[in-house]
Symmetry: D3
Subunit: 224 residues, 6 copies
């Protein structure tokens, strides 16, 4: 299956992608029925970034970042690079030179189930990365992988063009076809939360707001 580069992929509507970025990962994940979350081992290299974009996917051999160069040519404004190694690896596949190149093509960030390096430079450049590790261990360019094929990254299936949402809570993938409807649910969810937030801040209890007392009693909860 290696050695394939898919050049044209469909991307979700930009407006929807922008809206999903605003909701953040926790809300989007809930809004789509608690699916699509990448494993929590993927952590941001600096706090505060909150992005969304279309996935340009890379399947790469362990310790080999050749396909990143291939993928960068295919990037469009607003895309997010998503790299999954074909077996577990923490090497630093990506550093400031690749980030410079990716940013020049409009890339918004990188999600990588492996390592990244030059994190001081990446932080100064404001290029956000969610990675499994930080490691100065370089990679080679000797073996083919693939670009824009479906990958399993952080234990979630990511297809090229799917929407990636990432913030301090982690990374979530939304199927391209579902992006619109997830945004609708997220909007509704956020409106409902706003009301609850106020009531909770005023001292009302979740037990009452969500009417949990009867069900808890029925289940057998005993106060002593």
């Amino acid at each position: 299956m290696s050695g394939v580069v898919v050049q044209n992929i469909e991307r979700a509507d930009r407006r929807v992608v922008g809206e999903l970025a605003g909701f953040g990962v926790a809300t989007v994940h809930e809004a789509q029925g608690r699916k699509g979350l990448l494993a929590p081992r993927l952590r941001p290299i600096f706090p505060g970034a909150r992005i969304a974009g279309a996935a340009v996917t890379v399947s790469a051999p362990p310790g080999d970042n050749w396909m990143l160069h291939v993928a960068i040519e295919l990037l469009q404004e607003g895309d997010i690079l998503v790299l999954a190694p074909t077996s577990a690896c923490e090497d630093g596949y990506f550093g400031d030179l690749l980030a410079t190149s990716a940013m020049a093509r409009g890339c918004r960030g990188l999600v990588i189930d492996a390592g990244v390096r030059d994190v001081r430079d990446l932080t100064q450049m404001g290029f956000p990365v969610w990675s499994k590790a930080i490691s100065a261990q370089g990679t080679v360019k000797a073996t083919l992988g693939s670009v824009n094929v479906p990958v399993v990254c952080g234990e979630a299936l990511v297809r090229p063009g799917d929407v990636i949402v990432a913030d301090d809570d982690g990374v979530c993938v939304v199927a391209r076809e579902e992006a619109e409807s997830v945004a609708v649910s997220a909007r509704a969810r956020e409106a409902a939360e706003e009301d609850k937030r106020k009531r909770l801040a005023a001292g009302e209890l979740g037990l009452d707001i969500y009417k949990m007392r009867d069900r808890l009693k029925e289940m057998g909860l005993k106060y002593v």
Copy 2:
């Protein structure tokens, strides 16, 4: 054992709790004879917080945060929520809505041997959390646990009302009955350290201050 909520617990004296917060985890841990430290996998979601308070404990099933709602009703000014899942879990049990509710009741923070989410919001709200993971993975409300029963959290026994001390070094539990005497020891310890800090800063060696040279020689240390 599940399904029990203990409503009234004894708490340590507030003055003592406040003093323990000031000493910080490393000093308190030493002062009580190197016991009570929670496992170092519990890390703060943002740096700089240093708190102490009475533990309101929650024993919860994996992936189920129902009991947190029950626990919040029992919180008093200055308490700290302590959640231990009944088996290992990294799901995000707690987010900004629960934090809003807990803060409204005077809660000082959360110690959780599982995951937390909405960390950007929690950081902005200044609500400190020490957790095993950050994860947007939500939880359900389907199975009972217990509140204010003894729990093993981060591999340490925490009983309701025990004093929790937490800062950038981690989390320590002090038995309620021992809080006073631990504070006394910590005070003595800090005074002694202050003197040593000055001597060390002036270039004196620990080898001399602690009179280690003879014992090292006796043990057979060889300088070559």
Copy 3:
């Protein structure tokens, strides 16, 4: 082998050490042929530090920091402490008192394949540490180890006097005898990177700059 303290070690030239600090870990690691990187589990306790210095090595039993006191006496201006436990351990071997003492003797930082504590104080003091863990768990002073013997730290061999380079990407060791030639390579490497950075920022592709297209085709890469 335990119980040996080597008092006099050779150190690399200060000018070279200073230059290596400026290049940072990723560049130095590449410049010496991708060897000498310590395991990525060693992470800085605060971001932004970038140091280099001669290694004063400590081999210590698990949970016993006695030898650190012995090592501090041997520190010279610009040295870096490197501690490897004789078996895996996450205890907090080092805190603000030891840091005060080490700084008084000109020490630039600590690399430790174990735990560290008082990280808030260390951060305020500006004393950088790269460690496997942060833990308030104290240590004893009961068993001998050795100072200034070769150690395996973070899965890399570090000999006393070798150059340690450390920054946000991790820690790298350079053999004392090779420091000069590694600096030469790193200088050349950085000059070359500067040119590439400009071309990439202008939108040129790595595929073209590194002339990869032919080789990729030859290897069988298929664009679809």
Copy 4:
């Protein structure tokens, strides 16, 4: 997405499945281009089993095995249960009662990215399991999951009806549509290996059999 049970799934040809079992995981994995391997954390509970069968997939909440009961009704002779929790969990979802039930319906084994229990009984019954953990921690039946939907198990995508091959080396998934062609490749591969095995056993070197010497020299390998 939860709460869906797909009753009818297509399964690969039985003859092909049987042949794949005979080849074993390493050969099948190579024969399909090094894809489809489940993470090596999935280990057999006893050595020596080598099976293949059609996947009946289960997506289950952490600590909740309700859906296994639903899945068992859908099992056909020769099927293999594949369970992926919706977030990481090591609880014992499956024990001797469920195994009795599954065996009664012709199930050949279980692949589970979570825990299993009653392993002594399972071993005596000869019911093979590949799991992430062995744990007596029981589960509840409180929340819905889904059956026969695509799941990511052990970091690989498994669709209902895909062929699972499992032995002491681990677990591999073969897409149902590719099973036939993978079997053809595996057959060819094994024939070629048999010849090489004899030559290697006679003392011939891989360097010569695979004609590697020239390429190694060209790459710059130096014998000293």
Copy 5:
């Protein structure tokens, strides 16, 4: 707290202990309400052992097994040694000499949240051990710990005299005071399971035996 040896402890009734051994860990754990399971990282060094006995507990510093010698003197026929290090450690605290000594005093096995060595000898002697690791790394005898104090071992609280049950599924602790009632529940549970096992083996479904279909429908499960 270190440096304390409690010489006389109460032990559960021998007959009850024997009965609990027969039920095994999974049944006992269920019978006492899913509490008391030690973390699944504690694995048997050889398969097939199934024991129960009174806990003689040891709290030991990392890398120091001195207290095991103290504890052995306190062993009575049928006891089980339970060792918890005061901070995480994988050193080999226990080998064939200590096992010889423990067996001479009637000890039935060891549960240790650390490492063990001489496993070939221990296997030949038939002395079962549940440990976190196997490691030849020896320990010292330099620092005090305690014997027969409550310990947290494998993330569960074990008090001296509590009943330890261990088999291939792991290790469970039963409070001494509850041993009798847990045995009663386990007996009832096993009887009920026997009946279900027969019905399941005959092809009846758990869905019907446990009458789950209505509740699943009510929860919204959809068959498609």
Copy 6:
């Protein structure tokens, strides 16, 4: 540093190597002063093997086993292959074909800080392996490494020709120059242990045999 093959290495005396095999890892490790143990993550793929031999070392890129073919040509009767990847990797570098080839040249086993596959075949062939993982994930042959250079394997330094001792307790390395003296110490140690074993089996206590009571009292141990 990559790309170097050292053809001639010195090996320890065969008689001494044979004797070290007989002592086993725990005894050899103690006899040489508790140094040289490889990390306990290296586990045997089947129980019961106990070997010693001269190390033929391989430094290999992640996911690339090319250098194993180069190393096999250099094997002599009684050697043991030792492979360390240049960064962490669990791929299956070695399987039954390589084992066939290695055995044809007299190789006694493999120690690999990475993965191995075909473990059923290797077990049947009686070719022992100590590895970090079992994984069917194959490797490529695209990038050079080195053979017979010093490597850090399992966090210990192994130089070509050093003696490797391996059994169910793990793996230990003995410097070639020290093999003779370590054997002498191990012999003495075993003789002493034999006597102690008898006394302990007869019910004498370690507390008395090792005369620990006075020192324990002096340290402050309190019996209550």
